[in-house]
């Protein structure tokens, strides 16, 4: 487990994601999802780089199916970017670190 990403489930979703005053990037993943595993190093590098300005969290869809359903996740990896409790960006499938960083910068740097 990375020291910079936070594991989120149905219990702490509200406090960690919805009520956060920083932008929150959520990575929906599962143990059986090959492409998700391939995205892991990207997410972890991003989490380290943005540890002061954002929260980078991971949600296991097997453990928290209700959250996946609520946000209409039908493919993983799926990345949702939350700002003040609202989904502001969404990406499905492979995505580069630069693209994710750009999404975060847009909020952080205004």
């Amino acid at each position: 487990m990375s020291e910079f990403t936070i594991d989120v489930n149905e219990e702490n979703f509200d406090s960690v994601v919805m009520k956060s005053d920083k932008p929150v990037l959520v990575d929906f993943w599962a143990e059986w999802c090959g492409p998700c595993k391939m995205l892991t190093p990207t997410i972890e590098a991003l989490a380290e780089e943005y540890k002061d300005t954002s929260s980078i969290v991971k949600i296991n869809v097997d453990d928290s199916p209700a959250i996946a359903t609520k946000y209409g996740i039908r493919s993983i990896p799926s990345i949702l970017l939350f700002n003040k409790g609202d989904v502001v960006e969404q990406r499905v499938g492979a995505v580069s670190k630069d693209e994710l960083a750009g999404m975060l910068d847009k909020i952080i740097k205004g």
């Binding site: 090959g34 492409p35 391939m38 990207t42 039908r74 493919s75 799926s78 499905v92 670190k97």
Partner: protein, 307 residues
């Protein structure tokens, strides 16, 4: 300046990396948008020699990568955006970074073919999928369609019955080209039915709302178009080579595969080699891709020695 840069990280690219690293060429591998390649979206690989009980695709590719790194290959989770092979050294662009190489091995593989509808790309990931093993989970108790008639369509349809309440295979012809054993497995499954002589001509749904909700299916014999409600469409109509990057730089055939000389990985440009599904329109197996990756590394080594 790098001696060898490898683009792509499936069985071809990583085998090339193992051989090039062992030849002390210090290869740099750009893993691309799908690190590990197509095997990372399969489940069990049962025909790769050395694994009598089969092995999971992602696990096999992890082993390939570790073996390459063991001998000094550098692998980056980056995607090459642009190449310039017109003069030496060859140039590769990754974002705003430029890399130079004396030789390049291309192993960018293939990706799933789509129907080409605008609505299809809009709904990709929102009910439309090209990866049953990735997305099947989200279709529990749903009614879904699989498009195609080959082995991969049969495999996907059968796999998806683990989740879905019904799976309908939509196929353009009145018979499958899949192997007998795969057809039987699918057709004997009570959850699977088939719409013969049919094709999807339009998809409906809002990616920001419920995603895919229905599709128009045309009967190719009568011409009649009927709207069907569905929760998901899985594409299994074959693959196309990922060669867009190399248009106007290398000779491609009419289907987009990089043309290589007979029994070799040599392309139309000296110093550029191509291995795996990007140049193989016949076998397309992990083992043949690995074999041609090995050939590419040996040919690159000889090319560099001749300099």
């Amino acid at each position: 300046m790098h001696k060898v840069i490898i683009i792509g990280s499936g069985p071809a690219g990583l085998t090339a990396a193992i051989y090039a690293a062992r030849a002390n060429l210090k290869p740099l591998v750009f893993e691309g948008v799908q690190p590990g390649g197509q095997l990372t979206i399969t489940t069990d690989v049962e025909n790769y020699p050395g694994f009598p009980k089969g092995i999971l695709g992602p696990e096999l590719m992890d082993k390939f990568r570790k073996q390459a790194q063991e001998f000094g290959a550098e692998t980056l989770f980056e995607n090459v955006d642009k190449v310039d092979f017109s003069s030496k050294p060859f140039k590769l662009h990754v974002g705003d970074k430029e890399y130079e190489a004396e030789s390049v091995i291309i192993s960018t593989g293939a990706s799933a073919k789509l129907l080409g509808l605008e609505s299809e790309s809009k709904l990709m990931g929102f009910g439309v999928s090209a990866c049953a093993t990735c997305d099947g989970f989200f279709f529990k108790e749903k009614d879904i369609l699989v498009v195609g008639g080959g082995d991969s369509a049969m495999e996907e349809a059968t796999y998806l019955t683990k989740f879905a309440s019904s799976v309908t295979i939509v196929h353009r012809r009145d018979e499958f080209r899949a192997s007998k054993i795969m057809q039987d497995r699918a057709l004997n499954n009570p959850k699977i039915s088939v719409m013969w002589n049919s094709e999807i001509v339009e998809m409906y749904g809002d990616p920001k709302d419920k995603g895919l909700e229905s599709v128009d299916i045309r009967n190719l014999q009568s011409g009649e178009i009927v709207r069907h409600n569905t929760d998901g469409v899985f594409m299994a109509i074959g693959h196309k080579p990922n060669s867009d990057l190399f248009k106007n730089q290398l000779s491609l055939n009419e289907s987009g595969y990089i043309i290589t000389e007979a029994d070799s990985t040599v392309t139309s440009k000296k110093g550029i080699f191509a291995a795996g599904d990007i140049q193989d329109f016949t076998y397309k197996q992990a083992i043949t891709a690995a074999g041609s990756g090995c050939m590419a590394a040996i040919e690159a080594e000889r090319f560099l020695e001749g300099h």
